[in-house]
């Protein structure tokens, strides 16, 4: 057995870097973790997007950060999902919530029954059967509560980013992470592709056994080894993101609106507003003007290069966050992918041999995860119904095999094949595809195993139960205020 690693250097100064340093030190306390705080990367979306998936509360819990500290004291809001406007013309808006949609009736999954009921004109919109979606549409919030219809959901957060970073930094320093503030002048790489030292502007060169690159798209460390990149532009057409701030008295919505436009989409999550667009279809100036109409002050546009490194880990250097994968913020996966890579690394810590087979196993999982996120995002564009050139180009593009497989199977009979390392559940896929009117061609035969009137009755019971429970749930603002009051006592 080779010697264990002791020294880990995390480069970067955003939420990704601090989260990585905190998790490594907290969950593997025998490591010496140094964070080299390089100047902030304004184009690192994992550090800059306020909306998160449910993986962040889970990440907090693993570190031992309580809900009080991780949510209430940082001023975060709760998120139950995203509401999509204008993605499929002629269809109403739809909600992708982080919860279950209906439940199986007899031998067939709920969404298969829904398709038949829909075709027969007897179904309410798909998200009408999702308690979390209805809770969110009503502006309410409660954590999963057994014994109520609102028992089977997760929630993400809308972060107050500066406070979140401050909290994570304080936590990291508290558990023993060492912080060095400097700028990288040179990354030394030996002939085998291993990083040997990092030269900085002011201090002595820094060395470590393992280098974590959280410097954003610039990938100052990992990019010094090679720049091999898988390009996803054909399926993810937005290569610009514009972020702005607006005065928001109401706080972050529990349901984040995402509204399609001719050359991309825009969202609003309380103070943060944003827009993703394809630069070939909309100029930066026109984009800024569109965002300004909401009274938002916008920063310089962020250029993104949708794609990933197939080998996030090479030698003794691991890229995480935007240094590894770049996707637009649709479905809020940026920070999620970073946190998932951190979790994976904690369970797959190498020794000083930096064995190729271990990196390959990490990369296999990481790439599989990234590619399925790509597929899920691309499915939004592929199945959208909009006439403009940007949308039509994706509608006609040749798809990656895994997405072609999923859409083929779903389009045929509503089957959602299993993929390893999938981020989104089958319910999530169904919510998007059915929400955009991408209906299976055939009714699965298992559906006929239950008589239609029995299915209708079961479906009606679902919506009735939600309707009966909704009047008793607190509004999101009310729930947050109650948490604050509890802390103040």
């Amino acid at each position: 057995m080779s010697a264990p690693i002791r020294h880990v250097l995390v480069a970067g100064s955003g939420l990704t870097a601090w989260s990585a340093a905190a998790a490594l030190k907290r969950r593997a306390p025998f490591l010496d973790v140094t964070l080299l705080a390089t100047p902030a990367a304004h184009d690192a979306l994992a550090d800059r997007i306020a909306c998160t998936l449910p993986s962040l509360p889970g990440f907090h819990a693993d570190l031992g950060i309580s809900e009080d500290d991780g949510v209430t004291r940082t001023g975060a809001g709760y998120r139950l999902g995203t509401r999509f406007f204008g993605w499929a013309e002629g269809l109403p808006d739809y909600v992708h919530a982080y919860g279950s949609y209906g439940h199986a009736i007899g031998p067939a999954a709920f969404h298969l029954h829904w398709v038949r009921a829909m075709r027969d004109g007897r179904a309410a919109p798909f998200d009408a059967y999702c308690p979390a979606a209805q809770l969110a549409r009503a502006g309410g919030f409660m954590p999963p509560s057994p014994g109520t219809p609102f028992a089977g959901h997760d929630y993400g957060l809308t972060l107050d980013l500066p406070r979140q970073v401050a909290m994570m930094r304080a936590f990291a320093l508290h558990v023993g992470v060492r912080e060095v503030t400097d700028s990288i002048t040179q990354v030394q790489v030996d002939a085998t592709g291993h990083v040997t030292a990092i030269a900085v502007q002011h201090g002595a060169p820094l060395t470590a056994h393992l280098y974590i690159d959280a410097t954003g798209p610039a990938a100052l460390l990992r990019g010094s080894i090679d720049d091999a990149w898988q390009d996803w532009r054909d399926w993810l057409p937005c290569d610009r993101v514009l972020l702005g701030t607006q005065v928001s008295g109401e706080g972050a919505p529990v349901l984040t609106p995402a509204t399609a436009h001719a050359a991309g989409w825009r969202w609003s999550s309380g103070e943060q507003v944003g827009m993703a667009y394809g630069s070939a279809h909309l100029s930066d100036a026109d984009a800024a003007a569109m965002l300004a109409r909401d009274g938002a002050v916008s920063d310089a546009p962020i250029v993104i290069r949708p794609g990933t490194r197939a080998r996030a880990w090479r030698g003794n250097c691991i890229a995480i966050g935007d240094a590894a994968t770049q996707v637009e913020p649709l479905e809020w996966c940026n920070l999620h992918l970073a946190l998932s890579a951190i979790d994976r690394l904690v369970t797959m810590l190498p020794d000083t041999a930096m064995a190729e087979v271990e990196a390959a196993d990490f990369n296999r999982q990481t790439l599989a995860e990234a590619e399925r996120v790509r597929d899920f995002l691309a499915a939004h564009y592929r199945t959208a119904r909009r006439p403009e050139p940007m949308w039509q180009a994706v509608a006609q593009a040749e798809l990656p095999a895994s997405l072609a497989h999923t859409l083929g199977q779903f389009g045929e009979r509503g089957r959602l094949p299993f993929y390893e390392e999938e981020t989104f559940t089958r319910d999530s896929w169904a919510a998007i595809l059915l929400g955009q009117g991408y209906l299976p061609r055939r009714i699965d035969l298992l559906v006929h195993g239950v008589p239609a009137p029995q299915v209708d009755a079961a479906m009606a019971r679902m919506t009735d139960a939600i309707a009966a429970a909704l009047p008793h749930v607190p509004a999101h603002a009310q729930w947050r205020a109650a948490q604050m009051r509890r802390l103040a006592r």
Partner: protein, 505 residues
């Protein structure tokens, strides 16, 4: 769209036996009204079923079909199965159990085997690994009680399967299938008619001249692979270079020792021998490679090895490891031995039948066959076969035995790259390649790696945080806790006699 009466799919199953009647029962029960089922079998053709050991997945199949456990066990003279004992595999004299459960408490951020590896490498005096698994200990003590999912604790850390008489399972399923509308026809298929243009099978003709038409033909004809192999000529992918056994000789005997709640797989000079205790007898068989031993010597070796009076003469079976390139071709789906064969070392035969049936139901075609259903079915089945293949090869390859030409061959043979990589990750760091789909997950791989003596050189560094003394203490108290829990469970045979006594013949 909801009118289906005109679209009822006419299913013709060729071959009874376990595969045929499992398919027949599942289709009639789960797709009633969507298809008609006609099953053709001949009493003149023997059934391969030799007393079957299963995997825990069989329970979900039974549940889905509404089969009550106690009734099913009584009818098939079944016993419970907590895992498989492997004797003499890593070295002569070794014995380990691959449990349908975990080692340790099955909870915590770091898997138990990391601590185990560390303590073993430190040279600590440790109890046998079996004693640190509730399932293994329960099995070794020949006790049984259902898992207690409600309580969480140790008594929830396992699953179970059955050992039953396959010759009784098929008739039991047959009664369920016929009750649900399946029609059985006695007869031998002598001819198959195909559509000249599409190549689809139109009908099969029986020895008495009857022509049976169908939309979907399910080939459950066993090794002969009458439709998929003989008629459609689907190529066979041969895996015998990795899995060289190609014969088995089977012989039941009277049970003289305990009715163990586990199957045994005992390594032999040219293969291995199974022992499957049922309520009324014990099934035995010697799986061997004919390149390394003659049929006569194998039969003699089996007769010498079994524990009690033989209840039938030894019966010979021939096979080859591998699978047809595709299991579903045109309008023909092969299920069971007609689609491929993997030796019964890890009791995967019925599992593969079940997976094929599940996939077929999920992808059940209309009268017009659709390529997307077919391709997806074949993808799912390939994945199952490939994952099992690597796991089986591991048992042969991870050995230090050099006492016979057979073991020398399998110990030194080239193995698939996918398995090579898995082994290296385990050896270096005690890491198991993670999949969520596939039959044998982490715990199974860990049991076989450790059981066959591959102790990792490294482990999760987080397992180094705790002090040695504390860990050794924790291991000891775990062992006592397991022993105390197991002592409270009833004897396996006593439990069977109370719960599901066999029905007289």
């Amino acid at each position: 769209m909801t009118k289906v009466t005109n679209d009822v799919v006419r299913v013709v199953i060729v071959g009874g036996g376990t595969a045929g009647w499992m398919a027949g029962a599942a289709l009639t029960r789960l797709l009633s009204g969507q298809c008609t089922v006609r099953l053709i079998e001949s009493e003149a053709i023997g059934v391969v079923g030799v007393g079957e050991a299963t995997l825990p997945h069989i329970r979900s199949f039974n549940e889905r079909l509404g089969i009550p456990e106690a009734e099913f066990m009584a009818r098939t003279r079944a016993t419970f199965k907590l895992g498989i004992e492997f004797r003499d595999w890593g070295r002569i004299g070794d014995s380990y159990i691959h449990p349908f459960g975990t080692f340790g408490r099955g909870a915590g951020a770091i898997d138990f085997h990391h601590y185990w590896s560390r303590l073993a490498r430190e040279g600590q005096d440790l109890p046998p690994l079996d004693q640190l698994s509730y399932a293994c200990t329960l099995a070794r003590e020949a006790r049984f009680e259902h898992p207690d999912q409600g309580r969480g604790g140790l008594t929830s850390t396992f699953g179970y399967a059955y050992q039953f008489d396959a010759l009784l399972f098929a008739p039991y399923l047959r009664s369920l299938a016929e009750e649900a509308g399946a029609v059985r026809t006695e007869g031998m298929v002598v001819d198959v008619e195909r559509d000249g243009e599409s190549g689809l099978i139109r009908s099969v003709t029986l020895a008495d001249g009857e022509r049976v038409e169908g939309d979907l033909f399910i080939d459950c004809s066993g090794f002969r692979s009458l439709l998929l192999g003989q008629t459609l000529d689907e190529p066979f992918e041969d895996w015998s270079k990795w899995l060289p056994t190609d014969r088995a000789v089977a012989m039941p005997c009277r049970t003289e020792t305990a009715v163990t709640p586990y199957t045994s797989a005992i390594a032999m000079p040219a293969g291995w021998r199974w022992r499957i205790p049922l309520q009324h007898r014990t099934g035995n068989g010697y799986v061997y490679a004919s390149d390394f031993i003659s049929n006569g010597d194998a039969a003699r070796a089996l007769e010498e090895a079994v524990e009690g009076e033989k209840l039938a003469e030894p019966r010979l079976l021939r096979f080859k490891a591998g699978r047809r390139r595709r299991s579903w071709v045109g309008n023909c789906v092969a299920i069971g031995l007609a689609s491929g064969f993997l030796e019964p070392l890890e009791s995967t035969s019925i599992y593969l039948v079940q997976q094929a049936i599940t996939a077929l139901i999920e992808l059940f075609p209309g009268r017009q066959m659709d390529a997307s259903d077919r391709d997806e079915f074949n993808r799912v089945i390939d994945l199952e076969y490939d994952r099992i293949r690597d796991f089986l090869i591991l048992h042969y390859h991870a050995t230090s035995r050099d006492d016979s030409p057979f073991w020398n061959y399998v110990r030194t043979m080239a193995i698939p790259d996918s398995l090579d990589e898995k082994l290296e990750l385990w050896r270096r760091r005690g890491r198991v390649v993670k999949y969520r789909e596939g039959v044998f997950l982490d715990a199974s791989w860990i049991a076989v790696y450790l059981g066959q003596g591959i102790l990792p050189e490294g482990w999760d560094p987080r397992a180094d945080v705790a002090g040695t003394g504390d860990l050794v203490q924790a291991v000891r108290s775990l062992r006592s806790e397991i022993a105390a829990e197991v002592a409270r469970r009833p004897d396996h045979r006593a439990f069977l006699e109370r719960y599901c006594p066999m029905v007289a013949a």
